[in-house]
């Protein structure tokens, strides 16, 4: 069964009792991969943490192509990763699936915009102008990760996690940027202590309000919405804490979902 944005919030078994259970998962979109990465960070300090991998060898190849085992080794999940060691893959097997890019620090992120993210969009066959705009979108999402969490990470795990896939049949590209940081509520509460829900915090952030008191900033998310929707007829999604907001040309939709550590934001481009 494909496990995507449309289904993951209905799958109660995937994240349960400090276990990430991928046994029944099929194709995973960048959004779901982002949730898996954030849950792996959240569970990493738990003694009873575990990961159940899919039995299907094609899924093992697929997850290895995304460098999931490399990411999980950073979090000391080594004992659950044997199936990956038994499977050799070709990195050139599928250019439409990009490996997880974890940038611990801002300088690393800046460097990888040129060395990894731009070539990725070129590999996805975006035209030059589109590639530059799409890279700009990743840049703004990544900047937010460091602007709002530097010096304030809730755990020892820091940085931006970038996951991307291209679906050439649907002519869609989705890029998710995840961080195990303070989230919208943690960032905005300093300037707006009256905030009550994570959804309210996301909506406030999307309107251009920044948690960086006394500084003239906060337009990054407005531009992300504008470019994604008006230049790519796309969709912006943000999950922070237990709030979820989806923005497209029809407006904003909100819902309450299971909580995560930090923030997961994505943009879907249609071309």
């Amino acid at each position: 069964m494909d496990t995507t944005f449309d289904t993951i919030y209905k799958c109660e078994k995937v994240f349960c009792n400090h276990t990430i259970n991928l046994s029944e998962c099929g194709w995973l979109d960048p959004w779901t991969m982002g949730l898996i990465c954030l849950k792996a960070v959240e569970y990493s300090a738990e003694k009873d943490r575990s990961i159940v991998l899919p039995k299907d060898i094609r899924m093992i190849s697929y997850l290895k192509r995304m460098h999931l085992p490399t990411f999980l080794k950073e979090l000391a999940y080594d004992q659950f990763l044997d199936p990956f060691d038994k499977k050799d893959i070709s990195e050139k097997e599928n250019f439409n699936i990009h490996e997880i890019v974890h940038c611990n620090f801002r300088d690393e992120f800046d460097g990888r915009l040129s060395s990894k993210i731009r070539p990725m969009f070129i590999g996805f066959n975006l035209k030059s102008d589109e590639e530059r705009l799409a890279t700009g979108l990743v840049a703004e999402l990544g900047n937010n990760v460091f602007d709002h969490n530097a010096g304030f990470w809730p755990t020892d795990f820091s940085g931006a996690i970038i996951i991307a896939q291209h679906n050439p049949i649907k002519k869609q590209i989705e890029v998710a940027v995840a961080d195990a940081g303070v989230g919208f509520m943690g960032s905005l509460r300093a300037s707006r202590p009256d905030l009550k829900t994570h959804t309210d915090a996301i909506l406030l952030g999307l309107s251009g309000t920044s948690g960086r008191i006394g500084e003239n900033r906060g337009n990054g998310l407005k531009t992300i919405q504008d470019w994604t929707i008006n230049k790519f007829n796309g969709i912006v999604r943000i999950h922070s804490g237990d709030g979820l907001v989806v923005v497209d040309k029809n407006g904003q939709k909100t819902s309450d979902v299971f909580p995560i550590l930090g923030t997961l934001a994505s943009f879907m481009l249609k071309y």
């Binding site: 102008d129 840049a139 900033r217």
Partner: protein, 86 residues
């Protein structure tokens, strides 16, 4: 005084990088004998993000009383300029 922005980088991203560029531009302009506008030439700049552009222009306009001109923006950089002016 014309500043070739591509000499900072062809990918201009983020407020910290813009703050560093501002300090450098202050030095370059202060050392110039010209008393004309500060012209920011974006030719060969491939990516300009809104956060970089916002930080750069806000501070330079504050310092040079709005005598700051932007030229040779690519399509992407023009979109960024529009985004920060909206």
């Amino acid at each position: 005084m014309t500043i070739q922005m591509s000499k900072f980088n062809t990918v201009l991203n983020g407020r910290p990088a813009a703050k560093e560029a501002i300090l450098r531009i202050f030095q370059i302009v202060n050392g110039s004998i010209e008393k004309e506008n500060v012209i920011l030439d974006f030719s060969d700049v491939e990516i300009l993000t809104p956060s970089y552009a916002d930080e750069l222009l806000r501070e330079l306009k504050k310092k040079y009383n709005n005598k700051v001109e932007v030229i040779n923006t690519s399509s992407m950089a023009a979109d960024t300029m529009k985004a920060i002016s909206d």
